[in-house]
């Protein structure tokens, strides 16, 4: 960054405030998870991996982890085709009532999560599918669908429509054009969207709180319920699992599409 010393001091000073705010809880949780003591306090009492061991012994934890994976995979699997096709349709085709369609597809984002969650709880209760796991995955797909559509739409916007015309001109039938030209071109958006959907579902808590019961509880809901009773270090160990998964997602995103893609101007 160019500019006077004063400007750099102010900007970087504020950036440091943000950096500390953003990173402090993560770093603290990692530190706390290695304590040897019974409770979390500072400075931690000794270093051990005992809380990771105790966590792995816990059947309820392993079951909740498996369910969370299942729900996130359902959410991602449903949203990949649905979101990709919807994004291509809204950007590439002339459709009547375009604005109405866009407002409608944004509803999951504009309706507050607490309202969406309770609405679907009522609906799923009426059609008697509450208490099963797959509706949770579908519900998470619904509430996060705008993120999938956004990611793909950004990629669709970036491709030149002439390349599709060129493919058709060279005799490629519609499906072949779609599979060999359009789809590869929007892949960065599809990958970003898919990763985002998985991570959002893996972390989602409020809608899951309404749609799960003690037999189908997912990990974020279980953490929330435990936080409200006693704060034990095994929760820190679970949190480190979340941090590790977030780290993997960041590295994957960087390798596959590059984090710099988010710095493009609009």
């Amino acid at each position: 960054m160019r500019g006077s010393l004063g400007k750099r001091l102010v900007i970087w000073g504020l950036v440091w405030v943000s950096l500390v705010t953003l990173s402090l809880p993560t770093l603290i949780v990692i530190g706390a998870s290695f304590t040897a003591g019974e409770i979390i306090r500072f400075p931690p009492e000794g270093f051990s991996l005992r809380w990771y061991g105790e966590l792995w012994q816990l059947d309820s934890f392993r079951a909740a982890l498996a369910r969370t994976f299942q729900v996130s995979l359902i959410c991602t699997a449903v949203s990949l085709p649905v979101g990709t096709l919807a994004a291509i349709a809204t950007v590439r085709y002339r459709i009547r009532f375009r604005n109405a369609v866009q407002v409608y597809l944004l509803l999951p984002f504009t309706i507050p999560l607490v309202v969406s969650g309770l609405s679907m709880m009522i609906l799923f209760g009426e059609i008697r599918i509450l208490g099963q796991l797959w509706p949770v995955g579908v519900a998470l797909c619904i509430i996060n669908l705008p993120f999938m559509i956004w990611s793909v739409a950004a990629s669709v916007n970036a491709i030149d429509p002439e390349i599709e015309n060129a493919a058709m001109n060279c005799g490629a039938p519609p499906l072949q054009t779609f599979l060999t030209v359009t789809l590869p071109a929007v892949m960065p958006g599809v990958i970003t969207g898919g990763l985002l959907m998985f991570i959002l579902a893996f972390n989602e808590f409020l809608v899951s709180l309404f749609l799960t019961d003690s037999r189908t509880v997912t990990l974020p809901v279980q953490i929330y319920n435990s936080i409200r009773s006693v704060i034990t270090p095994d929760l820190a160990a679970v949190s480190v699992l979340y941090i590790a998964i977030a780290l993997i997602a960041v590295v994957l995103l960087d390798r596959l599409v590059g984090l710099e893609i988010f710095l493009r101007s609009k």
Binding site: M1, T110, P112
Partner: protein, 308 residues
């Protein structure tokens, strides 16, 4: 002549597609592509219909079920009880504070991200931004419990310096702080595209005409970043307005937001009608505020471009 298998496969698929979706349906292709998404969002819309229906029925205290007759009693109850006005005021104030602080912190971060010359520094800033973005609210709130708790980091540091400890947790400022941390990545990511669109020459021109950097920011950078500022503010404001986890966990019941009041109506006092009415108030309030901002200031970076 022998064609590769993949060609024959593709031709087969093409023929199947031509049968399933003949050319005369071509005009409807867009709707065909949209159909699955429209159906999925439809599930939510039907659920909202139920919610509206619930809100129009009063709770019968004899049977603890909603009465058959339609009435606006639940909405009247919300107006009559001062507790809901207080919760609403607290939520709105919180949303304004969090938006102001988060956008003020996000702006220099996004600016540094766009303007820094060092690729390594840019990568570091991006990772520090995305890592918390990918960690859910519950885990992050848990981190703050450890930092702000009675035996937490801050109090241990205070005690170590011989100072009296303070109760930081379960206060309104703790909730605001937690929410700012949660919203910061959203704000930065929505500001970045707008800042990236400002050519650096613009700032150079301003400075070569004698403007100090603060004047350049006030008269050039901030006005040009307006679409991003609107987008970031609207998203942060609405997400804060409807948040549940941070006020619950870091407020510990002392600083409930509207979402908590809705939750309590359903699960604590078992009055789904009242909860549904509160939900409708929240949806309406949020939509009105967003529509108001869009009318006055435009949709900013949130507008979606489409085919011309």
């Amino acid at each position: 002549m022998k064609y590769p298998l993949s060609w024959r496969l593709l031709d087969g698929l093409e023929a199947a597609a031509a049968v399933l979706w003949p050319a005369r349906l071509r005009r409807l292709t867009a709707w065909g592509l949209l159909a699955p998404a429209l159906v999925l969002v439809g599930v939510l819309v039907i659920g909202l219909g139920y919610m509206l229906e619930y809100s129009l029925h009063e709770l019968d205290l004899a049977t603890y079920r909603l009465t058959e007759a339609y009435s606006l009693t639940n909405y009247q109850t919300i107006l009559d009880r001062p507790v809901y006005a207080r919760v609403l005021g607290r939520t709105l104030l919180g949303a304004v504070l969090v938006t102001a602080i988060a956008v003020a912190l996000a702006f220099p971060y996004a600016y540094a991200l766009v303007r820094t010359r060092s690729a390594a520094l840019r990568k570091a800033l991006l990772v520090a931004l995305f890592l918390p973005f990918f960690i859910g609210q519950v885990v992050r709130a848990y981190g703050w419990l450890i930092v702000l708790g009675r035996e937490g980091l801050v109090n241990s540091a205070l005690a170590g310096m011989g100072l009296p400890t303070v109760d930081l947790l379960f206060t309104y400022p703790a909730v605001i702080f937690g929410l700012v941390q949660y919203m910061l990545p959203f704000a930065i990511l929505l500001l970045v595209p707008a800042l990236a669109a400002i050519p650096e020459d613009m700032e150079l021109a301003s400075e070569s005409l004698g403007a100090r950097w603060i004047s350049t920011f006030r008269h050039v950078v901030i006005p040009m970043a307006k679409p991003g500022l609107i987008g970031a503010s609207v998203v942060v404001f609405t997400l804060t307005l409807t948040d549940f986890a941070m006020p619950e966990i870091l407020g510990g019941g002392t600083s409930d937001f509207i979402a908590s009041a809705i939750y309590d109506s359903f699960f604590q006092i078992s009055n789904p009608g009242l909860g549904a009415a509160l939900s409708m108030v929240l949806v309406t309030l949020g939509s009105l505020i967003v529509a108001g901002v869009f009318l006055v200031a435009g949709t900013g970076t949130l507008g979606v471009r489409g085919a011309k």
